[in-house]
């Protein structure tokens, strides 16, 4: 793993470093610049420190990476997930259009979630069971529509939090489909899973949405692997 890769790997500060790696002299690195500030001082600060150790003085790729990172606060979260390293729509973009991204189950309204499920043709789930399912969900995301106050998008992932994760219940309110919100959710959910170190992310796609997942990096039946489900009908 090159030093460049290490630097752009998961960082909770949105900063060009990974404090868990002793190689990077974490104590010497300055705090991250506020969002929207000019990238020039940031890059020069970093290279002056790192340059003094002689490690990265001439790493052009790193400089470019740091420039992009400083310019787009959402970079490090999307690093390794999207081609550009940036989300297709930033949180700010979405906010300005009245959509709030939430990734905590704390304030989720089960009735509103059930309404969304019903709207897309899923069965309405019993609240106790739904709550239990959410409590044992590794990562989830929901989109709050500010004007109506409803939940218009949802996605979640279950798994062992170490090796494998399965994504379930990816839904967008039909009235809000076609706006790229499904992609918005998937990028963030995957970025969260990748950040947790989960390398095996899978899902079960209905035939009409296989084309939706492919551009996001999903491959169906890799190496001949088949999805299977237990069928009680046959018993």
């Amino acid at each position: 793993m090159t030093l460049t890769n290490m630097l752009i790997s998961h960082s909770n500060l949105g900063f060009c470093s990974d404090f868990s790696r002793p190689l990077l002299l974490p104590l010497l690195l300055p705090p991250p610049p506020p969002a929207g500030s000019s990238f020039q001082p940031f890059v020069s600060r970093l290279t002056s420190i790192v340059g003094s150790t002689g490690i990265l003085q001439n790493d052009r790729k790193l400089r470019q990476t740091c420039q992009v990172m400083a310019a787009a606060p959402s970079y490090s979260e999307a690093a390794g997930v999207t081609e550009s390293g940036m989300f297709s729509q930033s949180d700010d973009d979405l906010n300005s259009r009245g959509f709030e991204i939430h990734m905590s189950r704390d304030d989720i309204n089960l009735d509103k979630l059930n309404s969304l499920f019903v709207m897309v043709g899923f069965p309405r789930r019993e609240k106790g069971k739904l709550l239990r399912a959410l409590e044992h969900t590794v990562s989830l995301l929901w989109i709050h529509e500010k004007k109506s106050g409803s939940i218009i998008g949802f996605a979640r992932a279950t798994g062992d939090s170490i090796f494998n994760a399965i994504i379930w219940d990816v839904v967008v309110d039909p009235s809000y489909q076609g706006l790229g919100l499904g992609k918005v959710m998937m990028e963030r959910l995957i970025a969260d899973l990748v950040k947790r170190g989960i390398s095996n992310i899978a899902l079960y796609a209905e035939p009409n949405v296989v084309g939706f997942y492919q551009p996001l990096g999903f491959i169906s039946d890799p190496d001949g692997i088949r999805a299977m489900a237990y069928s009680r009908r046959r018993r």
């Binding site: 789930r125 399912a133 062992d160 090796f163 379930w168 992310i201 899978a202 692997i225 046959r234």
Partner: protein
């Protein structure tokens, strides 16, 4: 159930509560393969403990025990009645065999998750799976909804009269499932020691696992099958690409 002269096969569910102060019912019907045993098994299958009802069940166990057991008596102690639901733990003896020298061998299925990571590592080596950091494996097992195991128990004949020889236990198979504890479960890492393959143990392991999951009301049981084992799972009641649904993986590493 099949019988032969030197080996008897019997699927017998043990119902016990995993705690020293709880009611324990441990019965063995070795070398006993008949309709009597099967009806006994059916009767026991019907016995489901209810909260606060354990004292009456103790009577039932006593009468069964006195009538059928040939082995040493087991301790029946008054169970502790807890506030929350009493967990029913299943262990199923899949195979029981008495060797000519008197060694008792049992292959036992358990869904209680007692799998030693180092034993698992040895088992993974045997089937040619790449090694994974033991700490991660331990965490993954802990975060799994169900860890099902097959252990081979060997009890050599007692050389010292009353004192039974220590029982040796070896992990010979495992499977685990992750789940949201409500709607979906996905089965991973199914493996059986090559020495014990071809005996139907993998099938039994999965069958017991599916049964346990269904009993816990998990309606959607899924898995991803390598091409060469798709038929194995079909035989167990799994359907590939149900309703055209495709399994997809994010940038898989082969």
């Amino acid at each position: 159930m099949a019988c032969c002269s030197t080996v008897s096969f019997l699927v017998v569910p043990h119902y016990y509560w995993c705690s020293s102060s709880r009611l324990t019912c441990n019965f063995a019907c070795s070398s006993y393969c008949s309709s009597v045993a099967s009806s006994f098994v059916n009767a026991l299958n019907a016995v489901v403990p209810e909260k606060g009802d354990l004292r009456t069940k103790a009577g039932l166990w006593d009468s069964i025990r006195s009538g059928l057991l040939k082995t040493s008596p087991m301790a029946v102690t008054e169970p502790e009645i807890k506030d929350d639901e009493i967990e029913l733990e299943d262990e199923v003896v899949l195979v029981e065999k008495v060797q000519t020298d008197g060694t008792i061998e049992k292959i036992i299925f358990a869904s209680s998750g007692e799998v030693d990571v180092y034993e698992l590592e040895l088992l993974c080596d045997k089937v040619g799976w790449p090694r994974r950091p033991p700490s991660k494996v331990a965490a993954a097992l802990k975060n799994s909804y169900m860890v099902a195991s097959l252990h081979l128990h060997r009890q050599p004949p007692s050389t010292d009269g009353d004192i039974p020889a220590p029982e040796k236990r070896e992990l010979i198979g495992m499977a685990r499932a992750t789940s949201d504890h409500a709607f979906n479960a996905t089965i991973w890492d199914v493996l059986v020691d090559p020495l014990y393959q071809g005996q139907g143990l993998g099938k039994a392991l999965l069958e017991q696992m599916v049964r346990t999951l269904l009993r816990r009301d998990i309606g959607n049981i899924t898995l991803f099958a390598d091409a060469q084992v798709v038929d194995f799972y079909r035989g167990l009641g799994f359907e590939s690409d149900p309703e055209g649904i495709k399994g997809m993986f994010w940038y898989p590493r082969y």
